[in-house]
């Protein structure tokens, strides 16, 4: 275990890392959509206006 290892193909691990990749992309897209959908309204509620807010 202490020596250097060359990564070998392991479908199970690849699927595990793939699942994290897919989750990251879905979260990016999902939260992006949510931000566009409720962001301005949320800012109006919190700050009282959104025109000057990015």
């Amino acid at each position: 275990m202490s020596g250097l290892e060359i990564p070998t193909w392991d479908p199970q691990t690849a699927m595990l890392i793939g699942a994290i990749l897919v989750e990251a992309v879905l979260l990016y897209v999902g939260y992006g959509g949510l931000e566009r959908l409720v962001g301005p309204r949320l800012m109006r509620v919190i700050v009282g206006g959104s025109k000057d807010v990015q």
């Binding site: 275990m1 990564p7 691990t13 989750e23 990016y28 992006g32």
Partner: protein
Amino acid sequence: MFSNLIGVVDTSPEMLALFVGFGLVVGLLFGFFGMGGSFLVTPALLMLGYPASVAVGSGMAFVFGTAVIATLKHHDLGQVDYKLGAIMIAGTTVGIEVGRASVFYLEALGLADGIISVVYVFLLGGIGLMITREALSNDSDGGIDHDAAADEDLSEYEIPDIAKRIQETVRIPPMVTLRGDVHVSAWVITAVAFSTGVLSGFLGVGGGFIRMPAMIYAIGVPTPVAVGTDLFEIVFSGGIGSYLYGQSGGVDLGIVAPLLFGSALGARIGSAATAVVDADDIKVYFGGMLLAGSVAVGIGEIGTYLGNETLETLGLVLVIGAAVVVAAAIVFTTLRSLRASRGRVSATVD
């Protein structure tokens, strides 16, 4: 894979809520400062009683997911030097493997938890001291404002003196020309990549908080290029590191999935906050958080050594508490700035 998915379901609701909340805090810090945040995950997992390989492996998988999200956001900004990225990836990959092998070697000797924690204490403490000192003297940039960085011309960035000295002293061929007209030996880049890779693999962190200053101060690349290239690289290094840990059963989806769920939202809030708040305003809190983190890991380790559960709990509370306080300071300062700005607009209109 399926056992990992079952692992998510098996995680208790309290732990899921804790991970989502902690992810939110870590994401907020990452989004705001552009670095520093992910390194809190591994010590927190260690203090929660996870084995070192799971704490480091899951920490690295979390970094990978966060980097994918951050890279997607910065993809369009054109801040990536692919030549630099390719050399960095090669050097970091070997470094990560050396660091990872060290963890398993030390784990076999029963020393992994202690040594990883000690390295954390010195690293967090050292960087925390440096940032706090800079913040108090107010003469430099402790965090990275991604959006502001994108607006500046690369030629406007001055190369730090130490980087100039390295570029002039180490002229071993092949020499490489990077974006921003930087000429540097490929060996300097490889050395930086390897050493930060070792730390990355050893500590289970993306290494951005070490690599970004290293790219700026040792290689001399402009800050925006360092940011973009770093994110590009973390996707690869984090992916490979997670894969290697995953093969050894070190990646727990029951930890990574909820952390990522929270951090993706936190990163958006933190990133948006950079458009409103000057990072200098709360940079000192960031340095303080790193210092508190190093003290917390130290206290936790002493507690483990003495078998004192109260000290272990105190360490965990400190490390999470420090992160929560800084995240709350970001949200508070952002809201205050927004309200002040709104007030000024209303007064002008009146």
